[in-house]
Amino acid sequence: MLNYDLVVVGGGPAGMAAALKAKECGVEKIIILERAQTLGGILEQCIHTGFGLHYFGEELSGPEYADRFIVEVEKTDIDVKCDTMVLDISECNLVTAVNKIDGFLKIQAKAVVLAMGCRERPRGALEMAGTRASGIMTAGTAQKYVNLDGYMPGKKVVILGSGDIGLIMARRMTLEGAEVKVVCEIMPYSGGLTRNIVQCLDDFGIPLRLSTTVIETHGTQRLEGVTIAKVDDRLQPIPGTEEYIECDTLMLSVGLIPENELTKNVGIAIDRVTNGAVVDEMRQTDHQGIFACGNVLHVHDLVDYVTLESQLAGQGAAEYILGTAPKETVYVNTVTGNGVRYLVPQRVNVKNPNDVKLYFRVGRIFKNARVVLECDGKTISSKKKVKLAPGEMENVVIPADVLAAMDENSSITVRVEE
């Protein structure tokens, strides 16, 4: 059995930032376990630019953003095992993993950071008639084929879902000579960033059909076409609006699910909205010494925010290991008010001496609204927002002095006022 102070599960942007921050805070023995062949996570296949504008003040491609952290990890004595799959984490932070070189690995950790990221919702999660013809894949799978394997998965493409990966793939396929016929979005608005709609669809004249979904796929060996239809307010297809579109490829960009199998096995509480762990302001779960950050905690819009959040988790883990965390804990839950879908962290230790930033997403588009933070019935801040959209993460800060005045009966609410 191996002994480490900190085991980080996942070597993407979240895992690397958490490990580096813990190192910087003085943690000695740290190991990163990564399932893929290299560090970097999903960034390795996100070859478009636009990463790092907030964190580095530069427009980097995904691999460039990852490389900044890989280089830093290599400069430290942080151990890294790639091609290594974590199978289990026990109640007492014993991590079980497996790889081809070491075989079965048991690692006793003082603390664990969960940074497994997320995966895409697959076809099976959708109600769609049709056979299992080839040519139906998630947008991320297509992205891997094109950007890592150098292989074009199709020529005539329909994309279902207007999340950012779908939009990015619409442009990527067009650049490589495919014809992207349409992007269908079941909601009345796109979940993607405006910049991506403009530069990935409008630039190439690719139509975006809102309130529209794919109801049936055609073809038995290879996909031959899809039937799309408009949907009503309850997202049900409207009879008579069906339309056949010939295509050989259907890409799905219909949402991301945090990969929390390990988390659930430990018995850690999961938030029903984020599908990630319930955490406090240092991203500690309800299991002492286990932290979570990045897309395994909640799906982020920008990797820059993943980095910032993971540094918090790394610092939290370091304070836990080194015994420098606040001695007292008095938790107050954060409550979602009107228009707010979720809040991370879900609870705050009011004995924490620092400002605490709450991240959230709204449930629909708001124009000229206010984001209101209310603590113990008093309005702490009320910020005007010209636009709030579900595709973009928002945040609000609880000042340290407000926290200092709180006790176990206090309340923290964030809501949108129209």
Binding site: I47, G150, E176, V198
Partner: protein, 117 residues
């Protein structure tokens, strides 16, 4: 002539209308701030985009390596640049930052690798 644009200079995404003729931009409306005005004018006069794609590699871990233009290139030349990039094969090892095609099609932008292979 008239064109409707969505400003991407910030997440607000204002709907901007530009009126223009052969002599240039006549009016910009719908923008909330100066950056929107500048964005709309450049979209009419000289729209540019940064290009990210991949290039074939011989003997690397992966068969392709990602590349980008180190400066924005004229939007009208995107597909010509794609053709030029897809006609090239580089030999491994490739280093991040390595220039793959200098001054592509005279645009002044270099195509550089954004990962190792």
């Amino acid at each position: 002539m008239k064109r409707d644009l969505t400003c991407v200079a910030c997440p607000l995404g204002c709907a901007i209308t530009v009126e223009y003729d052969e002599t240039g931009v006549l009016s910009v409306t719908g923008n909330t701030c100066k950056r929107g005005d500048a964005y709309a004018r450049s979209e009419i006069v000289n729209p540019t985009r940064s290009l990210a794609t991949s290039v074939k590699v011989n003997g690397g871990i992966y068969p392709v390596v990602p590349v980008k233009s180190n400066k924005p290139i004229p939007k009208s030349m995107i597909f010509d640049c794609m053709k030029a990039i897809n006609s090239v094969t580089v030999e491994a090892p490739v280093k991040l930052g390595q220039v793959i095609i200098p001054n592509i099609l005279g645009t002044g932008a270099d195509i550089v690798a954004t990962n190792h292979d």
